[in-house]
Symmetry: C2
Subunit: 153 residues, 2 copies
Amino acid sequence: MSEPRWLTGDQLAAWRGFMKLLQRLPAALESQLQQDSKLSFIEYHVLAHLSDQPERRMRMSELAVMANTELSRLSHMVGRLERRGFVRREPDPHNGRYTQAILTEAGYAYLAEAAPGHVARVLDLFIDVLDPDELRTLHRISDKVLARIESAG
Amino acid sequence: MSEPRWLTGDQLAAWRGFMKLLQRLPAALESQLQQDSKLSFIEYHVLAHLSDQPERRMRMSELAVMANTELSRLSHMVGRLERRGFVRREPDPHNGRYTQAILTEAGYAYLAEAAPGHVARVLDLFIDVLDPDELRTLHRISDKVLARIESAG
DNA sequence: CAGTCATGTTTGAATTTTCAAGTGACACCG
DNA sequence: CGGTGTCACTTGAAAATTCAAACATGACTG
């Protein structure tokens, strides 16, 4: 058994800061969405992804990937959004195994109302704080780490 | 009502990538901890912060700040850790309003088992993927965004 | 020194998420 | 075509989290 390797002081400080960000930024965005639109971060993104789609509809499993969530969680979540009238579900006419989630008119309207406030907060708390170079670096960092996560399984 | 501002293409791409990271990195770390040590990310950090403390004890409210969590959640969580024998609680002898969470011997031993695997994963998925310059930039980014979140309330 | 107040923490109920098992549609194999 | 299998999704129960209210201790006030 080899001596386990630990983080250097700089690495630890950077990691701690980043972890704090990991916790605080989503919380800050959630709180705005919750307050102004009674939506969670993920619910917002489910609606947003649907609205980007040609027919405002998408398979549950695709949607799960896009929203970075598990199918089961999505299924419960879409059930709730359905009860609110924002989404409805239909079996895919071409293949009954698939279910399509469809953004309703009411859902679209609701999203349109919620979006500007959310985007404003993303700009205010995140985008506008960073200079273009930092944003570029962060983008590269994200891709690198994500690639590593993929390959590590 | 002014035209709401939106993100540029580059900004959007960077934001999307970063959001994905925000979702995937904690999930990847959690899954290792869960698998190898039956601890959630936050539970691990609660134990870790306690172990860093002089007497391996800390007030609940301080601990909540360090672990970036709300007091209520922490209280439930410490209750669970207590049932597992890793932590115990005592009222602060100097001021009965405060509660101190105390890491037990068993909790310390358990953490000592869990730590190397977790650290190895942080190194593997995160630290080792980035060069020192990127890590420095990320550290600066984290501090800037966190400062903005603080000041925005 | 009783009464009110503020603060730190806990508690229980409601909501959400996770986990494991269940269901239904299609594909394939004999 | 009848099984058997697999895939996409749903469901229900268990676990965790959030939310609001309760509680306890000490501080301040008249």
